[in-house]
Symmetry: C2
């Protein structure tokens, strides 16, 4: 089941329903980007605007495979942008609270000034494919086609690079084009940057994720880079950039995660 089908949302009689499909999980808990896409689809429907310009999700509980429902409300529908909230629930348990501003990015233009370049990556076939068949990667990784920069895969062999950074290519495995909702999955699909730091950190639950979408991506592989500068106060941020095949920045993301110590 491809991305669009696995994230479909139905709207009937003022309520939205969806399903957390099996196989989109990491150790039984649905990927955070996947949950965000469900909420973003409901917000897009509630606002009547297709593209998420800025969306934020606060993660309340892990999501397990099964039916979910959504409460989505348009807060304001303006001429260019519309803002909505959505709450994703399993039964009576809230999983995700989101807010987002949506628009139509077909005509995304303005003055340009970019002080950054896309990450340099070897060809996808010279990168390391992240896939459950490896025996090292979670089942979620069969839903995406991830190719990691060979310098950033040391954590998989117990030899973290020492630099909290992960770079790589992203696409869908079935050639489905990545749309602006797919970008919300892309920014949360890569292994945590902190796996490449030499810190006693076992797992990093996401508290909050914000993604900005700047443009609709051109078809083709996406270049992605994630890094962390501040592990402090019991938290870490992970900053992401996604560039399309034309060399344009299409999304920026930041998430705040907890830094629990590894179990002794």
């Amino acid at each position: 089941m491809g991305f669009s089908e696995a994230t479909r949302v139905e709207h009937r009689g003022g309520t939205w329903s969806a399903a957390i499909e099996p196989g989109w999980d990491i150790g039984g808990n649905a990927n955070g980007g996947y949950l965000l896409v469900l909420a973003a689809r409901a917000m897009a429907l509630a606002t009547g605007s297709p593209d998420p310009v800025s969306v934020t999700a606060h993660y309340l509980r892990p999501g397990k495979a099964g039916p979910v429902r959504l409460e989505a409300d348009a807060v304001r529908v303006g001429r260019r942008f519309a803002t909505a909230t959505a709450l994703l629930l399993a039964g009576e348990n809230p999983l995700l609270q989101t807010v987002g501003t949506f628009g139509d990015l077909t005509q995304a233009e303005g003055p340009e000034r970019v002080d950054a370049v896309p990450p340099e990556l070897p060809d996808p076939d010279d990168c390391v494919r992240i896939h459950p068949d490896s025996g090292k990667d979670p089942s979620f990784m069969s839903q995406v086609d991830l190719r990691l920069h060979p310098e950033d895969t040391g954590f998989r062999e117990g030899r973290p690079s020492g630099e909290p950074r992960v770079r790589g290519w992203f696409r869908f495995p079935d050639a489905e084009p990545v749309d602006t909702l797919g970008l919300l999955l892309a920014v949360d699909s890569f292994p945590p940057t902190i796996f490449n730091a030499r810190l006693p950190v076992g797992w990093v639950p996401t508290l909050e994720l914000t993604a900005h979408v700047r443009a609709r991506p051109e078809p083709g592989w996406l270049r992605c880079a994630f890094s962390t500068r501040f592990v402090t106060g019991g938290f870490l941020e992970e900053d992401g950039e996604v560039w399309d095949a034309s060399g344009r920045l299409v999304a920026q993301s930041r998430q705040l995660a907890l830094v629990p110590r590894a179990k002794p």
Copy 2:
């Protein structure tokens, strides 16, 4: 009227009320950080948790001085963290939709790894004071004590530095300590970074602002740095860092703003 008094929120019978005080505006529209603090106070009350760990605001309409009300709801109250939403309204007009996760940062600790240093700044008295008395700065600047790095003030003389960056010191003018809610004001108090780029940009309305608070600041001046790397697609981001007197990163922020062309 100091920061705490100017941002007080009253809770009676399930609704919250507040006032946008005069003098906290830029050209008649209330500062965005100031509006965010009103909503954050309501969310802190709704959750029973004092410190904003991660808050996001989507700006819907400019706020004018006068009474406002807030609809705040706790979405989930957990053991360590609690999440709420708040909508700030003037009459029936929504101004601001927010979501936030709150906690108690008295004991913010964990493994430390920081790949950054506080911005180097001349002493506050050797920096440029930003204040309405200058004839160049908006009335809001009398509510905060801002001292800008002399290299970053060129825009005030019509000579932007060419680098979209603004660095400086922040405190309250009346020696009121900056608490974690005050940090939400600090991250939106400085002149826009884009004023220092050489681009035909007249004004930059904020669409969305997210702030992460990592720790309660020590008393004293805060070192702040704001920068922009991506002006593209009709949007720009502005990234902020706030460091306290002990040299600790206490807040990180990112906002997404629109880039309208200057009027011809």
